[in-house]
Symmetry: C2
Subunit: 200 residues, 2 copies
């Protein structure tokens, strides 16, 4: 429906935002599994039939919400077009500042009381994106035959990043984004990136 300009209509953006918000809040309250489409639409003050004009079901809503989150990150130059160092230092710092904009979202995705389904989904997506990002950035990279395969390294980095993020979100007195980015860089750089030879 209205693929092209429909996205620009204020009503469309508002409806989708309300539904996504209700998805997160609802998951916090009763968990993703127990959440019905009715619950979501009631909370969002959106008619149930309207839900189906945008999404196939609650899984589709989740999926699209994830995608839009990633788009925000990519537009911010955090993943994707950015410079290579970008993802290591300034990029990660930017990421964390972004995260502080959506605290509920990330808490449900990664925090201590994260929803099981959402958390798994998020990590899967993140792994895929990180893999794609590295393959695009270092298209012909190779690693020493003695070391683990590249994909294993990337996957490990992505997973470690998610877990570290979850830990960070739960700290009482969180360290600064800068400090945390530095730690994360140390943790991940040696695992995988140091052995790469960027083709550029």
């Amino acid at each position: 429906m209205q693929k092209l300009d429909g996205v620009e209509d204020l009503r469309v953006r508002r409806t989708r935002k309300l539904l996504q918000q209700a998805l997160i809040e609802g998951t916090v309250e009763k968990g993703f599994a127990a959440l019905t489409v009715r619950d979501i639409t009631r909370r969002a003050m959106v008619n149930r039939s309207t839900f189906y004009r945008h999404y196939l079901d609650k899984y589709d809503l989740l999926e699209q919400h994830l995608n839009e989150i990633y788009e925000v990150l990519e537009e911010g130059g955090i993943i994707g077009e950015g410079r290579h160092e970008g993802i290591i230092d300034e990029g990660i710092i930017e990421l964390f500042k972004q995260i502080q904009q959506f605290p509920d979202f990330y808490r449900v995705m990664l925090g201590a009381q994260a929803d099981a389904f959402l958390s798994q989904r998020f990590r899967q997506q993140t792994q895929q994106r990180v893999l794609a990002y590295f393959h695009q950035t270092f298209p012909e990279a190779t690693s020493d035959p003695d070391t683990p395969p590249l994909d294993l390294k990337f996957t490990t980095v992505a997973s470690a990043g998610c877990s570290a993020l979850g830990w960070w979100l739960e700290q009482e007195r969180p360290s600064t984004p800068e400090q945390f980015a530095h730690w994360l860089r140390q943790l991940s750089y040696d695992i995988s990136i140091s052995t790469l030879k960027p083709k550029k």
Copy 2:
């Protein structure tokens, strides 16, 4: 437009709620005076022209929001039809529980950094309502000629109640609604109500 059933349309309720919410948040951020209709509608994700389908201007929005808040309180039996003791103990306790549902609202109305205009408006409205309530509840009440006139007493109670509420909202470790209601009862009861002779 659509006075009767229009109120029931989900879109209408949603739009009004979003605008009222944006009013409060916007006031917190930059103050009521500096807030423009554009600011409000942008934040609420509502078209500016739609704003004027519901409200005359930002003052009208504020006025109607106040009225709806009071309606909620009255529906809850806190003011109005309630028993006389209602407003003194159980009623006040209920009121405070209600208040904890709209923390932002009351903080802007009464808290330490309250907006000057909103705060004044709210106190005015509250005084009027309290006056009307007492006159309706004790239609023929009289007071000792040596003591201050009834209206002065009522006004004082209303004002004191607002200030006490503001104080309560700013406490780090807020006392329970029950405890606070008890204090407030002691403060206000002797001022005015103790000398009344309810007609009913």
